[in-house]
Amino acid sequence: MLVMNNIQKVFRTEQVETHALRDFSLKVEEGDFVAVTGPSGSGKTTFLNIAGLLETFSDGQYHLDGIDVRSLNDNQRSRVRNEKIGFIFQSFNLIPDLNLFDNVDVPLRYRKMSSSDRKQRIEQALETVGLASRMKHLPAQLSGGQQQRVAIARALAGSPRFLLADEPTGNLDSSMAESVMQLLEDINANGTTIIMVTHDPKLAARTPRNIFVKDGVVTEKKRSSMDGTDSLIMQPAIA
């Protein structure tokens, strides 16, 4: 599904060379729900951007759904993003002067899809997130939690294999965060693979799989007991 082997990401300026990811290896199976945690600046978002083909990497191998990502040109990367990946961002990234329907429509517009097919998908996605009745509203007319639900609907509308979520609850209060997390769990239960970057250990604890990134190096927390409450063992994420 998603396999990264020894990924390196180096940001270079004239004077400084920063290693954002070092020998980053990870394998994510279909249907996984992976929480990525780690301190600020550890490389979590860089990993997510590389996983979502929004950034290139300096070295290593990355196969997404069997495709060698390195061999793709810019157009092909756009197409893979459009067809296989859904993004959820901390700040929702809705287009303010488009209504909910048109916001969810954005990724579908870049597929050769009939308008009736698009309409059906949009309505279904908004139904899934509980906002079907508000499709003519503008984002500013919604609460933060509702806006994030719209972003999730946008990500879901294209039926992606992967959902990549970068701090999806970071801008929400606890009750809204809970409802968004519940929604993500439901989506995962329906078979969509989710990789979620989060700072919130409670949310991370709810996911079946946790990886920890520090200084660009990834380790995996494996639960030592079946109830998975306290005792965690650090080991390479690809093992």
Binding site: S91, N93, V106
Partner: protein
């Protein structure tokens, strides 16, 4: 997809109304200024008779001062002497040809209430009308007999006919010009070549004449001439006949020469004629005879002045400055859309589709700027008319061609201005934009 881009473009324009208005204003100002001057230059430098301009030739024979050319560098006179014009009319081998000069007189309308008025006329030969394809509203030109027999006939302009006869068919009626009664044989139908190529010496953009009469009447009736006269030595005799026999040039001369052979023959005739005249003590300068087709003639006579060209280029530079401003405004506008562009890139838009989307937006701005520019150009041309009077009225108007040129220029300018900002916007790093929003 085009309708989707169109809808997004309208939304984007509405989202930043001030920036959008500034861009439209910048393009509009540039287009307005440049189209005003381009329109005037276009009218000045246009081909007044495109289908025939390479068959019509202004004739130059150099009978000028042995010590100084008529015009530097060694340009032959732009008009002919009476002696030479008459000799050419008699013998030169052209399909059609006509000597002509500008005359003026007082026209006396019939009836007691209408007042006499000054009018300018053109004394010429019958070939003038066929050669220059003047359109007739009523009647026709006079015949060669009228030329040869000094018949008192005239062709009126449409305006004169309207003034004197209320636009009715006046053929067969008479008119008093300069105290002489002429029979009206024809009325022209709005003849206004621009430039007035057949007589640039007396004003390439002057109004056409009010009436036309046979050329030979100038000598027969000693008519008042209104055009330029240039002499390089004093006349040998006094009086009108002395003037006719002088080396003064005052007659425009045109010949219709349909092909290369007739053109070569005509030039050979001119050179032979000049050689003969040399033997008679005239034509003291080396052979310097020419035939110039319409566009060559307009170029040689510098019908479009250097000043007009300079002003046109300055206005085009002003358009470039406006475009540079537009580039700056577009950079600002597109930078405010970085997050949206980043998002669209993230969810699958290729650079190419985003480029197309934003170029369409720029095209709409260009169209709006073009329409504003057309309004400003319209105002600018009215300003030109107000400044220079009725003599430029027919130059200072936008025709259909210029309308589309203005719109095309505006759109291509907007697209040109949009290329760099759009390219830059489409090359932003989406990850950075999405995180920093």
């Amino acid at each position: 997809m085009l309708t989707y881009y169109f809808r997004l473009a309208i939304l984007s324009i509405k989202r930043n109304p001030v920036l959008s208005s500034l861009m439209i204003a910048a393009i509009g100002l540039g287009i307005g200024a440049s189209m005003t001057t381009i329109t005037v230059n276009y009218a000045m430098s246009g081909n007044p008779i495109p289908h025939k301009s390479e068959q019509l030739f202004a004739v130059q024979v150099d009978s000028w001062d042995p010590n100084n050319p008529f015009r530097e560098p060694n340009i032959a006179p732009d008009q002919l002497t009476y002696l030479d014009a008459m000799a050419l009319m008699r013998n030169a081998p052209a399909k059609r040809q006509a000597a002509m000069t500008k005359v003026f007189a007082v026209v006396e309308p019939k009836g007691d209430e209408a007042l006499p008025f000054d009018a300018t006329g053109r004394a010429t030969f019958t070939d003038f009308f066929a050669m220059f394809e003047t359109p007739f509203l009523y009647g026709n030109s006079w015949g060669k007999d009228a030329d040869n027999n000094n018949e008192m006939v005239t062709v009126l302009s449409k305006q004169t006919n309207e003034r004197l006869f209320g636009g009715e068919n006046s053929v067969g009626q008479t008119i008093t010009i300069g105290g002489k009664v002429y029979n009206i044989v024809g009325v022209l139908d709005g003849y206004r070549p621009t430039p007035k190529y057949y007589d640039v010496t007396n004003g390439a953009f002057n109004d056409p004449e009010d009436y036309y009469i046979p050329f030979n009447l100038v000598a027969a009736l000693q008519l008042n001439r209104a055009g330029n006269t240039n002499c390089w030595k004093p006349t040998a005799e006094d009086g009108f006949q002395g003037f006719l026999n002088s080396e003064c040039v005052w007659i425009q001369f045109w010949a219709e020469l349909p092909d290369k052979e007739t053109q070569d023959n005509y030039l050979a005739f001119l050179n032979n004629y000049a050689e003969q005249q040399k033997q008679l003590g005239r034509f003291p300068r080396p052979l310097n005879n020419h035939i110039q087709n319409v566009m060559q003639w307009l170029e040689l006579q510098e019908v479009v002045s250097d000043n007009a060209r300079v002003i046109m280029w300055l206005s085009i530079m002003f358009l470039l400055v406006c475009l540079l401003n537009t580039i700056g405004l577009l950079l600002t506008k597109f930078s405010t859309k970085s997050a949206e562009i980043g998002l669209r890139r993230a969810v699958g838009a290729s650079k190419k589709t985003l480029f197309a989307q934003h170029l369409l937006e720029s095209t709409l701005i260009g169209i709006a700027g073009g329409l504003l520019g057309l309004l400003l150009a319209y105002g600018g041309l009215h300003g030109v008319k107000a400044l220079y009077g009725s003599s430029v009225e027919h130059l200072a108007k936008l025709d259909t061609n210029m309308f589309f040129v203005a719109l095309g220029l505006a759109i291509s300018s907007a697209l040109l201005a949009a290329i760099y900002p759009t390219w830059r916007a489409c090359n932003i790093q989406p990850a950075l934009q999405l995180k920093t929003q």
